[in-house]
Amino acid sequence: MMASKKYSYILLFNLLLALVIVAPVKAVEESNNKVDILGKLQNHSYLDFTPIGKLELPLLFKDQDGWHFFSSTTAAINSNQGYTDEHYLAHPNADKKIVNGVIKPIAYHLVREDGGHIDYNFSLSSHLAFFLLSGIVLGLIAFPLKSKYASGIGRTSEPKGTFQNMFETLILFVRDDLARPNIGEKKYLFFTPYLLTAFFMILFMNLFGLMPFGVSSTADVTITAALATMTFLVTQIFASKDHWMHIFWFPGVPTPIRLILLPVELVGLITKPFALAIRLFANMASGKVLVYSIIGLIFVFANLFGDAVAYGTSPIIIAFALFIFMIKVVVSFLQAYIFTMLSALFIGMAVAEHEHDHEHESH
């Protein structure tokens, strides 16, 4: 009885809400504003602060005429140097969007008017901007902490203050739970700085993506590929002799099997960092798509069953989207943990020096 009363209140509330907000939603539908979910994952040459505006980022690229630098996409289009927005190139007859006598881009993708290629693009894009921001935040946290530990606080005495205590928990977790068991007593301290950098960098990039107006750089496969390449390089550069022995000339088995194992091991060398990159990318990208898709259900319901159903279901859908968002916070930490742990595992497998008895047996 109580439950049904409660539900009827919710229904009444939603109906009232529907009456209040019906007009603006109709306006949006008429202007045919489509939400581009996959566009939210792409790398743009602007930072999106939508209700306030867009902050265009500088461009630096090389094409057949040499190097070019523009302070923004708008500046590049209005420079009369043969550049235009991709939207205007694709729709030559469409009217251009002009604000205060300046042509504004629509797709924010700069192309040459003659269709030529931009060879090397070093522009500051949204993903790169947030990557650099994470790096700066990491530096702002790491250097004060370093000077604290260097002066003895936390080593000879107790760590002081919320700041140091908070990060010491994570740092000790990476050192004692990830580096030490996976790499081994002898060498783990040498690799802990790299693992800490990777852990905090990924964590900050993931968490910046959850902030308002934030862009999660880790939802870009190029950035995760760069991170995985770092792990690959660290693994291979510091690999022991046994590691290369196991790849090229597997000890302890007959020669024909060694020839079969050689390509398998070589492929395994590449798939490990590849899986690292794809795992991080797919987890962060899918979380983002999931939140937008669940919010998009409101509009799907509005189109299929009418506005009343959409308003009625919107509290449930928003609550569910909020739940997914909470899960994304957990996933941000979990993916940083998994990336760091697998990096430690791969490094540990590569640097391990085996007891040399099984090789003597084979000779």
């Binding site: 996959l38 068991p181 899986a275 794809i278 795992r279 797919a282 987890n283 899918s286 998994i338 742990m341 697998l342 595992l345």
Partner: protein, 72 residues
């Protein structure tokens, strides 16, 4: 064109079945192991996460392929 969407949807579903069965089996064994030997639960959890990460990696390859099919 529409077939690509159908393929992507079916592929995503089938991939999830495989990954779900795999991770479920890991979870089952890990729970049994922890129940038998609670003192080894930390080691078991680490190995469980590593195995789950590998299965998840394979599943994500499939999902990424479906994603590419759907956005073609």
């Amino acid at each position: 064109m529409e077939m690509a969407y159908l393929d992507a949807g079916l592929g995503a579903g089938i991939t999830v079945i495989g990954a779900g069965v795999g991770i479920g089996m890991i979870g089952k064994s890990a729970m049994e192991g922890t129940a038998r030997q609670p003192e080894a639960s930390n080691d078991i959890r680490t190995s469980m996460l590593i195995s789950a990460a590998f299965i998840e990696g394979v599943a994500l390859f499939g999902e990424v392929i479906c994603f590419l099919l759907a956005t073609k």
